[in-house]
Symmetry: C2
Subunit: 424 residues, 2 copies
Amino acid sequence: MNNTFNVPRGTSDILPDAVPLWEALEFLARKICKSYGYREIRTPVYEDVNLFKRSLGATTDVVNKQLLELASAKEDEGYALRPEGTASVMRSYIENSFDKKERLSKFFYIGPMFRGERPQKGRLRQFHQIGVEAISVDEASPFLDAETIALAMHLLREFGVKDPQLKINSLGSKEDKARISDWLRGEFAKHKDKLCVDCRERFERNVFRVLDCKNESCRKVVASVVKDLPLSVPSQEYFSKVQAALTSIKIPFEVSPHLVRGLDYYTHTVFEITAAGRLGSQDAVGAGGRYSTLAFELGGAENIRGIGFALGIERILLALGEAPIELARVDVFIMAMKEEYQPLIFLVLQLLRKAGISADMGFVCGSMKSQMGRADKAGARFALIVGEDEVKNNSIAVKDMQNSTQETVALADIVEHLGKVLSS
Amino acid sequence: MNNTFNVPRGTSDILPDAVPLWEALEFLARKICKSYGYREIRTPVYEDVNLFKRSLGATTDVVNKQLLELASAKEDEGYALRPEGTASVMRSYIENSFDKKERLSKFFYIGPMFRGERPQKGRLRQFHQIGVEAISVDEASPFLDAETIALAMHLLREFGVKDPQLKINSLGSKEDKARISDWLRGEFAKHKDKLCVDCRERFERNVFRVLDCKNESCRKVVASVVKDLPLSVPSQEYFSKVQAALTSIKIPFEVSPHLVRGLDYYTHTVFEITAAGRLGSQDAVGAGGRYSTLAFELGGAENIRGIGFALGIERILLALGEAPIELARVDVFIMAMKEEYQPLIFLVLQLLRKAGISADMGFVCGSMKSQMGRADKAGARFALIVGEDEVKNNSIAVKDMQNSTQETVALADIVEHLGKVLSS
């Protein structure tokens, strides 16, 4: 019997040395999303399983193979860990009648998502996303599409991702999609023997997915058949305005007629951002698109539409390629040379913390050397030492760990003294 | 067929108006925990189900009735959403060999926990905790116990919880616990007919739980039988030192010999903090204790011990009794009086955001009145208006929403101008 436990397959611990990087990304994400008028929403990590089936499309890979469901005693009460954020945000939008309160609601979220995939580099079972959804009962605005894309690019640049590459495409309106599906099926039918097994299946249930198949034979067929998606004139005009808006704010992009996304609900603008780095084939750091029928499919009003994206935090960290950093834990480490002085240093410790100074103490009253080792490990700038002389004189020895100088400070002055030297 | 979806039973959305309060608590928690030398750790939301069975005790309510398990195709691969944080942190501590790297490791965590309880006020299926674990291979230090309790009280006070009440107790060492169990069983056997059904069952599997039964008849029996827990002399001395340390830093407490906690792994110091407020009978806002056998039970070294606590964020918010607050979303709202001016305001919008000024625009080019309504709803301090005159003169009208004054600013100066007035 294996007596120990491991972190579940496809998940990972974010250990203390790695957390500061996550915190920095989250801080920037909150600041920048807010500066675009987005507000944070936090939905539960699990939802009614049918929410995902209905929103993502019952035949998508995510729903068919990758939902992590909760065990349930009751047949009719099925829950699944959320595989993405859009369905949950839209569920909350409808449930809380945001469409009755305001014409345009802008949400962002930061949190874990879950897919029961075979784990590999850049694909985890519990992974984390920063995402936004701009949901409205207004007419769609091409400037909102451009703003959303600009926000994704702004975030990635602030995070330090080098040279993110933006691809955009338009799938057209719902009517366009239906018409284009028929056309694609007609065209691909002529080359069906050259398509891979997956694509022959996709052919029936979502022929758009053939467009982004990675199989080389499929790519050749796609390249020969699809130069442009035959959009209706209004859809084409809308897409042109999105491109003009992006150009006006100097965001470079490539129009890729073969770009589709794995989720059924997208219409009109879709986009994907890739980054070079240690990602290998999983080089997408973010993606998103517009959706116009999602709300209605989830029981909301027909005029609710939205656009959003999600960035993968683990993917971004891989692209950044930064190693965890060990930060100083506290500014001050206080130690007693005898156990009987511990009550005194404990008092000083709490006074320091109440004054907002980060501090720790040697809970084990070991040798000077071992306690200095702990002070060093904690990254303390000052080690405070209380020995026989200090107790006799109501003072504390203050050792500067950077230049190894030492001075004696009166006990009554210690908080003020450290406050001063630490802030200078 | 009900076409819409609701948030899962016993969970809730944290909507944008409520998030700022959560953010404020989390910010304070991170700052204060760090000032005590604790570092954040983030473990996955689910773990091997046996981790919880082995750590919490297979016969506890949490494990018997409240684990939310993931559906699994394989019998041997069971996972459950974490019902608390200690088991996960200890699993990670052992798996990552922290005991080989440092003598004392101090972790804190903030995140969702899950219990399949019947939902009621203050009891949710997805709830959120701020917790800490100080895990060490040193001898236990009573100052570490006192520090942990002080940290919990410090956090609650900084959060604004009025008059938190601290109760502490000692369950003694593992040997003490076994001896006291026998003694309690002997005493309670004499009054078995007066104990409730639950307690007659607890009597066998964990007699300590009889001590904190809420049933009135049980309370009478407990009050008559247990004045003090008969601790061994070393355990009593250790507990006295914890109390002396708390007294020295002026933290008031009540020793409650009937205080036990619902989890099997506690030994020595346990504590609970309650707060008056809108909590009703669920008035505990936090609790914790020392554990000395948990690591060994999870396959770690026998000399690994720890102490920790968890505070319930929803409970704290109930105690604070604060209503969600609607904050300003952006500082600046820019609107075009004609659709043909939208490309211009979109450009200005992005310039403002790049300069760190939070801003939004009217994506729908409605009437002045409707766009002013949106600016107002966004809480903007300044509304920028671009109409025919402004375009002709390369300027923007800047309306101060507080005092309704208006001025005209040259287009080229607008970012600098707003940067100045907003920072003043």
